[in-house]
């Protein structure tokens, strides 16, 4: 009961995932693919995702005490459960490794150019290890406190200083062409990978009736944040520049946006403040991923003491981060591997399992009804 989520806690956790991905420059990948048509593309993808949300929330009414791992067990027994769990664990590990690597790269580029990578990494990993050992309860409570300031920081990108905005950067609204915006641009649906949480949410809610409310509220908030961040990038920089920035791989576009914000003559360079605030989001995001890995591992092997799993999980992430030595690998991991992996998991395998689970449940119900009639 202690770890069950309220509406606010669930929305906070889901929103922080999106904020972290904004900070980790995921919107840049969207702009990179669809150019000035990203806003239209995002709205188009939101409509598709909303249909998925609607289906997911309706099917999960029948599985009030099950998550996607349990449903996979219903369909394919322990073998399918194991396979699905392993796939999720690999995905979460990759997300965590890319998240830490990306943020570490960002931090080192700005503040610690001549400092040893391991030295900067040490404080990050120690904080993560410490937080993970304290369990999910503390994290969810922390998220409810920091979500306000994190949300404001994303809004500040847009409202910070609109003197630098150039509305010409938004045109042509439909981007490069119809095909890129609506067909190739379908790949941008990976940005809605926060929807993956919806497959695990139901058994972890304190009130099951809140599921639908959480799904649609969090979706709306996250969509708003994504739209704001994409709009800010487009308004500040012409797509040609962001494209070249992506290619030379030196700077986070969102951070470049913060550098253009000038609150007053006293606070002329505010990027340090943004990094300071966003560190909470990244730490919370990685910590959530670690807790999720522990959650799935515990579902598989039913450990007596979950908190002891933190150390090997954090160690595995550390090893992963150290293996990714060059930035091109991070980009490859995020823009290719994780993009397709997210789409495959969120809109592919999880969704199929849910549908199959629904039909199996329905069939079981019919059989039971027939038996009762006999």
């Amino acid at each position: 009961m202690k770890n069950k989520l309220t509406v606010f806690e669930a929305i906070s956790i889901i929103t922080i995932i999106t904020i972290s991905q904004i900070v980790l420059d995921f919107p840049e990948y969207l702009v990179d693919l669809t150019g000035t048509g990203t806003l239209i593309n995002l709205i188009f993808l939101a409509v598709i995702s909303l249909i998925f949300c609607f289906i997911i929330s309706n099917i999960f009414k029948n599985f009030s005490n099950h998550d996607i791992i349990d449903i996979s067990e219903i369909i394919g027994g322990k073998i399918l459960k194991f396979i699905i769990s392993v796939i999720f664990i690999i995905f979460l590990f990759l997300l965590a490794i890319s998240g830490v690597s990306n943020f570490l790269f960002l931090i080192r580029n700005i503040f610690f150019q001549n400092t040893n990578k391991l030295f900067v990494l040490s404080i990050f990993m120690v904080t993560l290890l410490f937080s993970a050992t304290k369990g999910f309860y503390s994290l969810k409570k922390l998220d409810t406190v920091i979500i306000g300031i994190l949300g404001l920081s994303i809004f500040a990108l847009f409202f910070g200083d609109n003197g630098n905005f150039n509305s010409n950067n938004l045109v042509p609204v439909f981007g490069y062409n119809y095909e890129t915006t609506f067909k190739t641009g379908l790949l941008n649906i990976f940005i809605f990978n926060f929807m993956l949480i919806y497959f695990f949410l139901m058994p972890n809610l304190s009130k099951k009736n809140d599921y639908k409310k959480i799904v649609f509220s969090s979706f709306g908030i996250n969509l708003a944040l994504l739209l704001i961040s994409v709009t800010s990038i487009l308004l500040y920089y012409p797509t040609s520049i962001t494209h070249s920035l992506t290619n030379i791989n030196t700077m986070n576009t969102i951070l470049l946006v913060t550098r253009r914000i000038q609150i007053s003559s006293f606070l002329s360079q505010t990027d340090s403040i943004f990094i300071f605030i966003w560190s909470f989001a990244i730490l919370s995001y990685i910590c959530f991923l670690i807790n999720s890995i522990i959650y799935i591992l515990n579902k598989l092997f039913n450990f007596k003491n979950k908190s002891k799993l933190s150390f090997p999980v954090v160690l595995a992430i550390l090893i992963g981060v150290l293996l990714i030595d060059r930035i091109i690998n991070i980009e490859f991991l995020e823009n290719i591997v994780l993009k397709y992996f997210s789409i495959f998991l969120t809109f592919g395998i999880s969704f199929i399992i849910l549908i199959l689970g629904y039909f199996k449940n329905k069939k079981k119900g019919l059989n039971n009804a027939k038996k009762a009639v006999k």
Partner: protein
């Protein structure tokens, strides 16, 4: 040892006396007084002995209410029916006769074993041993030297009651009962410490406080196996949830009004005999930023002060760390003029900034410690010396920069503005951690520190209630008194409503 003390009281007077002589070392113990005499009842004489501790008992009460009736008035002229005849003495209950007819003392208790009896004697009772009785009749003759009720020293207020607790447990409980003035106030007693048998009172409202909370407090107090307890601070460390927590998990207050308010809010107060502080459970982190003054003020003023204290807490913990991180890693963050001012001020300083800041912190801690320990007459001198050394000489000698003096001074003032003395200890510990993080990792290190710090705070509980929660943030700022309709949900009280929706009925009546 324990089984020896549980020894039953003997019927034989001499045996009892011998036992007392041995146990109380009567030959060398000067403050234990024994008084042998005889009680004459209907012609039969019984050897008797009074034993009490000099200095803890009221001699007048012993003389007038115990010795006088037993020695002088026991040749009473009873009615024939009730007169005791010698041949009926076996049927006659001497104990009842003494307690009900002779001893005119308000509190009389019967002890059957020596351990119980010794406990009573040590707490100011006078014990009566009578030949043929296998019990001791213990009469309360307590008269402990107590100081008069002083004004609060550590939680001063401008407006509001000035009274504080003293070292006498009964005086403290009576102060609470006087304020709460309701029969639902329960003051339960328990003893802690095998040797000291310190009286500890648990105070709560029967119709408000959650039963589970009360049970938990009793459970923890009754399961303390140790020899001695002499202060509430020891109790606090023994019953708190998280042993390594540097934050206080129980709210210590010397104010009866604050204690009463918190009891009425659904919390439990623990009073320890000999300690002028009440311990309140559960305690939330933000309780330590609340001053007793707040409830006496207009809510707008109170909230303004609370906001100031909240800011003061962040300054006290973070300012030196942020200063060191900004000057070391994020100088682009500062306006050029300020950056130049800091750089020029630090130009002649031979030490690295971390050493400079620790030097100042150490000096400040020394001055504070000295200021507390020395007699108050020297306190001012210490302050002047400290101010001169820190403010003038250190800057002139180029040991520290003037900006750092300002930073440390603002930090110190902020720390002093925190209302709870024990809470400020934690700020010092975390300040040092943030200084190190700021020096090594800049603002990124500080944010990692804050994240871990918050995770730590959210993981703490005080008697099963979260030490820090979103709800406690919401309830930090006070509502006007007429809007205080509900008690804190987090305490899950039996009486959630504190006042009706419309508490100012006169306004409605007027309409």
């Amino acid at each position: 040892m324990g089984s020896e003390n549980k020894a039953k009281i003997f019927e034989q007077f001499d045996k009892n006396f011998e036992y007392l002589k041995v146990k109380y070392n009567l030959l060398i113990n000067s403050d234990i007084i024994t008084r042998e005499f005889e009680i004459l009842i209907a012609g039969k004489s019984f050897k008797a002995l009074l034993i009490f501790v000099d200095g803890m008992t009221n001699s007048e009460s012993i003389n007038n209410n115990i010795l006088a009736p037993l020695m002088l008035k026991n040749s009473i002229k009873m009615t024939p029916s009730k007169q005791v005849k010698l041949n009926n003495v076996q049927k006659f209950n001497l104990q009842d006769f003494l307690v009900n007819k002779l001893i005119s003392q308000n509190v009389v208790e019967i002890s059957k074993d020596f351990e119980d009896c010794f406990g009573k004697i040590n707490s100011g009772f006078t014990a009566l041993f009578v030949d043929t009785l296998d019990v001791a009749i213990c009469m309360e003759t307590k008269k402990l030297p107590v100081r008069s009720i002083p004004a609060s020293q550590s939680e001063t207020v401008v407006r509001g009651p000035q009274a504080a607790f003293i070292e006498s447990l009964r005086s403290n409980t009576s102060q609470i009962r006087k304020i709460i003035n309701n029969e639902n106030l329960i003051i339960e007693n328990t003893k802690v410490g095998k040797i000291t048998k310190t009286n500890v009172s648990i105070c709560y409202m029967k119709n408000i406080t959650n039963d589970d909370l009360v049970s938990e407090v009793k459970f923890r107090l009754n399961n303390l196996k140790l020899d001695s307890i002499t202060s509430s601070g020891e109790i606090e460390n023994l019953i708190k949830d998280n042993l390594n927590n540097v934050y206080p998990e129980l709210l210590a207050t010397e104010r009866p009004d604050k204690t009463s308010n918190l009891i009425l809010a659904g919390r439990v107060a623990i009073l320890v005999d000999g300690s002028p502080f009440a311990l309140i459970v559960p305690a939330f982190m933000l309780d330590f930023l609340v001053s007793p003054e707040d409830i006496n003020l207009n809510s707008a003023f109170a909230n303004f002060l609370k906001l100031i204290r909240g800011i003061a807490y962040f300054i006290a913990v973070l300012l030196p760390g942020i200063y060191i991180s900004v000057t070391t890693f994020h100088d682009e963050f500062l306006p050029t003029e300020l950056l130049l001012a800091i750089s020029s001020a630090r130009e002649k300083i031979p030490f690295p900034i971390i050493l400079e800041i620790f030097l100042m912190e150490l000096s400040f801690e020394l001055i504070r410690e000295a200021g507390i320990r020395v007699p108050s007459a020297f306190g001012q001198t210490i302050g002047i010396v400290g101010a001169l050394i820190l403010g003038e000489a250190a800057v002139s000698a180029n040991i520290v920069s003037p900006i750092l003096v300002i930073i440390i001074s603002i930090t110190a003032i902020s720390e002093f503005s925190l209302p709870d003395y024990s809470f400020s200890f934690s700020t010092r510990i975390f300040r040092v951690i943030y200084i190190i993080l700021g020096y090594l990792f800049g603002l990124f290190g500080i944010s990692c520190g804050i994240f871990a710090h918050l995770i730590l705070l959210f993981s703490y509980n005080s008697f099963g209630v979260p030490f820090l929660s979103y709800t406690s943030f919401k309830s930090y700022f006070v509502k006007p008194i007429w809007q205080n309709e509900k008690r804190s949900e987090i305490l899950d009280t039996k009486r959630p409503l504190e006042e009706p929706h419309i508490s100012m009925k006169w306004r409605n009546n007027e309409k």
